[in-house]
Structure formats: C-alpha cells, structure tokens
Symmetry: C2
Subunit: 146 residues, 2 copies
DNA sequence: AAGCAAAGATTGAGGTTGTCAACTATCGTC
DNA sequence: GACGATAGTTGACAACCTCAATCTTTGCTT
C-alpha cells in the first residue's frame, strides 16, 4: 500500500488531471475526422500493413467481441478498414486499413502525438525527466506482464 | 509545432500508454461498485459537502446538459446523490452526495489515487521527477486557462 | 474416422451514453 | 410588463456495451 506522502501518489493524480484536461482535444479531433471517439481509438489500434484479428482488437479496446463487431461494421461502412478471412484459420477475420483508412489514421496520429502546450512548454530538464520516468514505468510494465 | 525529437513528444505518448494500460483497473473498480464508468466518473466530480449545479457537472464531463440529466437520474435512483433546488436561482438544481454516495465515492477515491505498480515501484528519484514535472505542467495549465 | 469441447465471430435483446432539437420555467434587463 | 438568455428536461435516434444464444471452424480424443 502506497503511503499518502509517497510522491508516486501525487504523480498519479496529476497524471489523471493532465489526461482529463486533454480529453476535449481528442473529442474535437474525432469529430473533425467524422468519427466517434471509440472509432478513432479503434482505428489507432490498427497499424498500417498489419492484419489484426477481431478478438485482438477487442482485447486492445477492453471490450468483448460482439461490441467490436458493431464498431468494425461502421468503420468498414466508411471504407476505412476491411475484413479479410484468415487462411490459416477460417474462423478469424483479419482487419486491415484501406488507403483512406491509412490516411485518416496518419492524420490522427500526427495530431495526437503532438503534446499539449502545458507539456511542450515545460523546461527541457522537466521534459527529459518526464520522458525518462515514464520510459522506466512502461518498461517495468512490460517486464511484469510477460 | 513540436519537433519529432522533442522529449515532450515521447513523454506524451508514454503518458497515453500508461493511462491506457490502466483503464481495465478503472473499469473493474466501477463494476465492483455497481456503477458504469461514466457514473463513477460523475460521482468523482462531486466533492463531499459541495453543491454542484447540473450544468457545471456537464462541463466537467465534457458533455451537454441533456446527457447529464440521464446520468444524474440513475445516480439519484441509486440513492447516491440528490437534486436540490438552488434558492438564489430556481432554474438551477444543485447536486449533493448522500451518505451512501459519500461512502462509495470515498472508497473509489481511495483506490483510484493508489498509483499502479509500475509507478509505485519506480526508484524514488524518478517518482519525484515525475511528480515535479507534472506539477509544473498542471500549474502551467492553470496559468493559461485563467 | 467420428465425436466433442472450445474458440472466433455474429446476432438479438436490453440498458447506457451521446447529440440534437424542441420545450418549460426562471432570470435579468430595458 | 415584454424580451432575450439561461438551466434543466424531454423525445427521437444513433452509438456503445454486455450478456446469452447461435454458427462455423478447429483441435483433441478415442
């Protein structure tokens, strides 16, 4: 149990606060692209040139398969992704970005990876410290989840 | 425009990654408390002893008033919050936590403010650096939004 | 080879969230 | 007292989400 004076606790709360404050930016971006927030998020989970099984997407979105069916239906109806049957296992369907899908995704990625002003304008030593600490955290996560 | 080698850019992506990875924890907590994710989030926005107008809650949740009506309906039906008419302006309704509402919210807050292992287990100098950088970011945000 | 449990995806039912337009009641002002 | 603006609600409709049931395909077992 983390102590209440552990800097990790305050850091965690501040992390929430920063992400929360940036939610409108994400929602505005989705709207700009003519997508819902969930659709944008799903699109981001499919990398160009990589075939993603439906159930894998469900895992990335933390929801179940039946929900993904609907989301994929709508993305496919917009022509942003396609379902391909997998040759090694005809139960699974592989999702692939289409040309338009790649373009929209790339535009979204370009904007989403742009840090918000409050991060971008930090003094260089803070930015580096932030990056290094988060690298360590993500790295620690990867260790334990294997 | 932030350069692609700016550490702020990588920090921002890592920040996303950390929050994304912790989403299941939040969803599990909500389920444990018998709430939807949105309901839990709304409950968190109402502090004990503070009266919050509906439209203010809508602002905090980044959605419109009509949406809040439904969310509040369900929280009220569960007995977690109450609507009180404001005496100074009879159009506005003030939301207040009930006893059970306070207890559930306090339990939720206790768990949500607990940093995840990958943050809690960072070496102390990383935790402090993380906290300090995020403090600066949130502070910078508060400056410009006023 | 036949049988069978399990997995991937879909469908349908039911509830929640989100947006938009219309509506009511109240406020502030002129 | 009339007017425009604001706070909240309602209704219509789409999207999201979960659960149970179904279908096909697979891999295992015997």
């Amino acid at each position: 149990m983390t102590q209440s004076n552990d800097p990790a606790r305050e850091a965690w709360e501040l992390l929430w606060e920063v992400m929360q404050a940036n939610k409108p930016r994400f929602m505005a971006l989705a709207q700009e692209l003519g997508l819902s927030a969930v659709q944008l998020h799903a699109l981001r989970m499919i990398e160009p040139g990589v075939e993603v099984p439906m159930s894998s997407l469900a895992g990335k979105l933390f929801c179940d398969n039946s929900n993904v069916t609907g989301i994929v239906d709508r993305l496919e109806a917009r022509g942003l992704i396609e379902r391909h049957p997998a040759e090694h296992d005809r139960r699974v369907k592989l999702l692939v970005l289409t040309g338009p899908g790649e373009r929209i995704r790339s535009s979204a990625t370009r904007q989403m990876t742009q840090p918000p002003p409050e991060i971008a304008a930090l003094p260089m030593e803070h930015k580096i410290a932030l990056r290094d600490a988060l690298r360590a955290a993500v790295h620690a996560r990867a260790e334990t989840s294997v």
